[in-house]
Each structure stands twice: as structure tokens, then as C-alpha cells.
Homo-oligomer: 229 residues x 4
């Protein structure tokens, strides 16, 4: 019964090296079956080249393994915190993609500098607050998920579909795993273009509010006219 | 009867991911049949991998769909404004290619720093003026085309075969769709080399006028001696 | 009897161009059979495309060729110095990978700026001291190995699994040749992300000590919980 | 009789896109048969994908076409000036490779910052002087070759196997066309690493003289011990 979930999550994981977003075993994608309350996620430290649907680990929302022979990704508690907090999301992707990670390491949110970014989100890409010593020593990966939720604050997580964990790397989410991969691809391009823009002009102004709204509304919401719907 | 136009425009669209100029569904190429007064263009939000000639949408110069099952690219009114203004062009390519987009986001024209650029155009790559609030709220995509036309001013659009939409990305054009792809490839390389040059020396002088003229004349105009003509 | 060693070292060498870490004939990987006291290493100046297991050269720990028709890599004495000093290592990779080499040429250690780095090592990537005129004129390649050993000082070489030779390039090591390749891949990514981070903020602070320890312990040591062990 | 020359020059041209050194039809490789006094070179403006040995043009040292149906590269007079001046060279490669071209456009020689560079040449990569108005208006491509020769001055062209034409791009040469391709590959990597080094430290000192000499002598000259000779 979980075959479809496994197939979608496998496809999302295999897309990460194909898009150049991961090296070796880093990164992971997951998906949730909201009816059954279970999440499929990449096993920890496994190569993408040999990953199969049956390698994926099925956990419940408390992190208990309910199917699969392997240990789930060490980042599983971060994924679960996001699934618990954001009921509208169905897939999550975590990578250490180069350019987004550079912004995370520089401990800067990604400013909204152009329409490519506005197509993804009408907001800067947020940066999480520093973890406390207690959070690092305690349930570290869960705390990582919690500060991501904090960074989105009261906003719609589908309008801010990604954030940077400070000094770490991005997490991305969407309605399903395939869409979360698309967020990760677009975020990396947005991060890259923003960094190169900053090289050309460190003080470049953010995109005008009218253009932010316009581009986001072209793709999202009731008056969207992008795509084939 | 439009099969040839469709094939040329399909080939131009498929060349964009092959040259690394687009991610996911972003970007689009079009071509015009001047005799029939119709334009073939990529449908909105469709993956390149599965795009076929019959997916392309045929519109007239006012934007009315005259053939095709799908919705045309949201950027169609920008293409049409360019085709109406520039009678000598036969193909248009729009991408968010990384390095050209960085210049657009930095809101700087691309200075003419070397012979690679001079082979493409004897002028800096122009940047459009900011759109007004009214233009953004009104027929936004048409206004985008109009400011591109404005940026070329009285010059020959085949001598200035591309421009940057401010805080957005480049548009490129040429005598036919395949040639517009070549402009897009060259522009991205020119943008990349110019940015790296700027890193080495932010105050580097532009190319000497004599070299601008020489390189452009080698490839273009009555005394051209580049190529096999 | 040395077939297995040769196969592992061949695989490590062939992985270098596949990961984009080497150009033309530059770079080399080696592995040691501690029981027999012999090292297999790439022959000098040979193309990767045509490299076979029988091309590899077998040398003892003093550098004497004990099997193989070809001349060993000119960097062999550097490898041997590392094998002699670090008894826990089983494989070494030397490349001139672009971003790590940029740090080596800038004569700067790579600061620890994020968790990607902390997953590799809880320390900055060290830089060797300048060689003296006597060292350069004498047994240069051995001296290169000796200053690498010096740069690790009293630390566990598996906790500092790589270092930059000043104005030259990185050396990487691990328990076996395949793991040394993984260090080389990760180091290059760490070097690249650190350089881009530095572009965004030249004065970015290093990763908090608590996060350094946490991330390293997730992957290494008795309480590691990353992977499938 | 010229089949072997044609095959070597074809192989060198086809290597350029494979190594990512050229876009579209830019760039060209040539080779000389010193006995017959003829040069084989890429035809002007022809795509690499469809290039065949019979497309190559054979010219004498004065530029007269002696075989071939097509027009030779517009850069032919630059190649011929180099062949006439440097009797020891057998192949030439001209590209607009990105990172070397950035240095050319910044009008800076490439400083010798590390051993990768020293393996290629014990000297900075020279930059040609500006062409005069007369040189540009006259036999421009020949003048380009002449200033390259000037930039090498009294040095051995095999010790300074490449130079940057100011505001234009690099030319590379070697004993044969395949070796000239290797120079072009290495130069691009040297240019890239040097630019990234400069980003990390604009005032980084050049490589110590002892290391320059050491690395160059490892690969070149009577006491070379790199490779299988």
C-alpha cells in the first residue's frame, strides 16, 4: 500500500544527484502519506547510485520505524518537525547545495533581487536563528526542524517554501516530493544568481514590491496564469 | 503548412537546456512566419524533456491563439511586442541564464570589455528602464516587450541582438530561432567573462573603439570575412 | 596476491576524473598493504583514460620499485612519508582540484564555516609551512610529505584527513583508497563553499564549537549515529 | 600525404569542445608540416560537431590556400606569424576559454601563484601590448600574431607556451597540435585557480623562485623526471 509513496520519494532522491544538488551520500528527500500518518525517507549514509524503493525507511510522525530494514536519515527528526507544523506540505528535500549553503554559512538570508526569486517566493529566503547550547546537546535534529518552523513564522509555508539553517544548509518543502525537488533546484539557482549579483553590486536594492507581487501572483493563487491549469 | 516553423521553434526550445541556459520549465523560444503573420511559441510551464512540435502554440501578432491545444507562454506578449517593432527579426529566445541574469539583477548594462562581446555586438548590452507601477499592474508582459524596444532605441536590432530586462533576465533575437539561440549562448558567455573581468578589475576600461568596429565588421555587414559565405 | 590492492587503487584513480578533481595526467591515488609493507600508486604522467591495474607501480616504504614496468608518480615520496608517519591510514589521494588549490595558493588554511566541513573534520584544513631552500633543492617530494605530517601535528590523521601544501595543492588520506577519494570530493566542496562564503562576508565567524563537536561526533567515534553501522 | 597532419589537426579541434574550451564555432587549432612548409587549420565559422578532416584548409606560410574547399579561419595570419617566428613549435590552439579570457579582458598577465602554473611555465603568462590604430586597420590578424611573438621576447616559446592577447583571448602552442591542446586545458585551469586565489587575497605573493625552477625542471629539460621517458 505504501508502494506509491516509496516510488515518489525514491524518484525525488534520485533527482538530487541528477540536478547536481548533492555529493556522495549527503542530502535526503522524504514524502508523507497524511492519511496513514507515515513518512518515507532516505536511509542514512547510503549511496544514491544503488538506492532502491525498498531501501527507504517508513517512520511515523514520532519517528518510530514502521517499515524498512535500514536506519533512517539522521535528519529525520528535522523532517518530522516540519511535517507536524506545516499540514499543507507533502514532501521535503534537504541538501548542502553549494550556493545556498554559502549563504547559510555567511549567515545571511537571501535577498529578493529579481523575478526568478519572486517566481519562487515573494519573500527573502529566511535564515534560522542560532541554536542554543541546550538545543545542540539535546535533540539536535528536532531542534533544527523547530527553528525552521520558527523562521517561517506565521506565513504560509507554500509561500516561503524553503529556508536556510544557519551555518548548515537549506531545507525545501512543497505539496509533494517532486515539487520539493523543484524548489531545491530553483533555490540553488536563486542563491547562485543572488551571490553573483552581490559581487557586481554589494548594495543592490531589493526587487520593487509591485514586481514581487506580480511575479508571485503569475504562478500562485487564484489569478495565476502560468502553466496549463 | 506551419510544420517547418514548428520544427525550427521546437529545435530552438530543445537547445536551451542542452546549452545549460534554463532550469525546469523556465525560458522559451519562438519564431515567426512573417508571410502568414503568425508566431509559434513554447506552451506555458511545460517541461522541455517531453516537448513536441504539436505542443507549440500558434498565435497571431495580437496574441490570439490560432492553433494548438495549450496555453502559450506567459511571456508571449513580450515576444509579440518585439516582433511588431523589429521587422527584421525571425526568432526570439528568453532565458534566466545565470550570468546574464546577475547583470540584470545588479541593474547594470554589460560593458563591452573584449572581442568576444564585439563579435556579438559593437555596443554594451543594454538594460531596460524600470517599469512604472501602471505598467506592472496593466499589461505587464507587453510592457516588458515595449521597454526592450525602447532600450534598443534607433539602433538596428540585429546589431544589438539582446538586452537585459531590469531585475529580470535577458531577451535575445535574430533572423531566425536557431540564430537567436546562438545569441543567447554567446550572451551568457559574454556576461560570465565580463563579470569575472570585473572581479579582477572593477574599473577596467571598455574595448577600444577601433577594435569594436573591427571585430563587428569581421562578422557582420558587407565586408564581413568570417565564415563560409 | 596484490591484485586486490591494485584493483582498489585503480578504482580510486579512475574516480578522480569522474569527480572532476583532475585534468589531463595530474593527480594520483595510492593504497598500502600494511602486512606486506608495499604501496600501489599511479605511474607518472599517464592518462587516466587508458590506465589499467597492471600499469600501477608497487613500491616498498623506502620507495624501491618491487613490481611494475613503469616509473611511479613523482609524488611517491610524499605518499610514503605519510604512510610511514600515519599508521592508521590505508589510502592517499593527491589532486590539484580547483577550489582547494585556490586556498593553497592564497596560502590560507580553510576556516571551519559550516556543518559540511564539520562532517569532514572538526578542525580548519591546515596549510603546510613554507619549504626551505634546502628542502626544495634536496629530496623535495619527501619534504612535501614531511611538512604535511608536521601540519597535522599531534592530532589523529583520521580527524584531520587532509591538508593543503602551501602554494601547491591538497593531499587527502583515509582508512582505504576509496575513502580517501571521498575525502577529496568533500574537501573540494568544502573549499568551494568556504570561498563563496568568504565572498559574501570576508569576516564571517567560524562555526560554533558546540556544532563542530556535534557534527563530527554524528559521523565519527563511538557514539556516531550516521550511516548503517 | 597530408592525411596524418589533417588527422592530428582534426583531433585537436575536436578536443576543444570536449574540454569545454569553446562555444559554438569560436576557437581553432592548427598544425604544421615543417618539411612541406604547410599548415592545416580549421575552416572559418564551421561547427565542431560536423567537422571532418577534409574540411580542414591547407595553407602555406604566406597564407595561400594550397588545398581544401573552404575559407580558412580568419585567425590564420596570427597562426602563421607564430609558426614563422617560433621554429620549434608544431601546433597552435586559439580559444576564448572563459577564465583565461577574463584575465585578457582585465588586461593583466596571469601571475605565477602555484605549482600548477610552474608545471606549465616558470614565467607569468604574458599579455600582449595594445595594438595601434594602424595595426587594427591594416593586417589585423597578422599584427595579432606579431604582438604575441613580441610578448615572448627572447624567451624559449616552449617555456612560455601561451600568451594572452589584450582584451581578446589566449593563444597556446607546443611541439604538436595535441600538446597545444594540453597547454590550452592547463592554461584555463591556471587562469581559473589564479582568479579564485586573487579573490581570497588580492595581494598574494608570487611563487618562490626556488619552487618555480624546481617544478618546471621536474617536467622539462635534461633532468626532468616526470612521465615515462
Amino acid at each position: 500500500m505504501l508502494e506509491e509513496l516509496r516510488e515518489h520519494v525514491l524518484a525525488a532522491n534520485l533527482a538530487l544527484p541528477r540536478h547536481g544538488l548533492v555529493k556522495l551520500t549527503s542530502g535526503n528527500a522524504s514524502g508523507i502519506d497524511r492519511e496513514r500518518g507515515v513518512v518515507a525517507i532516505k536511509p542514512s549514509g547510503v549511496q544514491y547510485e544503488t538506492l532502491t524503493a525498498s531501501d527507504l525507511v517508513i517512520v511515523d510522525l514520532d519517528g518510530k520505524v514502521v517499515a524498512g530494514e535500514r536506519r533512517p536519515s539522521t535528519d529525520t527528526p528535522s523532517h518530522l518537525a516540519l511535517y507536524r507544523a506545516f499540514e499543507g506540505i507533502g514532501g521535503i528535500v534537504h541538501t548542502h547545495s553549494t550556493w545556498a549553503t554559502a549563504w547559510a554559512q555567511a549567515q545571511r538570508e537571501i535577498p529578493l533581487l529579481g523575478t526568478t526569486h519572486a517566481d519562487l517566493s515573494p519573500h527573502p529566503i529566511p535564515l534560522t536563528r542560532p541554536l542554543t547550547q541546550e538545543e545542540i546537546d539535546g535533540d539536535y535534529e528536532r531542534a533544527t526542524g523547530d527553528v525552521l518552523v520558527e523562521a517561517i513564522a506565521e506565513r504560509d509555508p507554500l509561500e516561503v517554501p524553503c529556508a536556510l539553517v544557519r551555518a548548515h544548509a537549506p531545507f525545501c518543502w512543497a505539496a509533494d516530493p517532486a515539487a520539493a525537488v523543484e524548489v531545491a533546484v530553483t533555490l540553488e539557482e536563486v542563491a547562485r544568481t543572488a551571490l553573483l549579483t552581490t559581487v557586481l553590486d554589494p548594495d543592490v536594492p531589493p526587487l520593487a514590491q509591485a514586481l514581487r507581487d506580480k511575479h508571485h501572483r503569475r504562478k500562485h493563487g487564484p489569478r495565476a496564469y502560468y502553466g496549463q491549469r
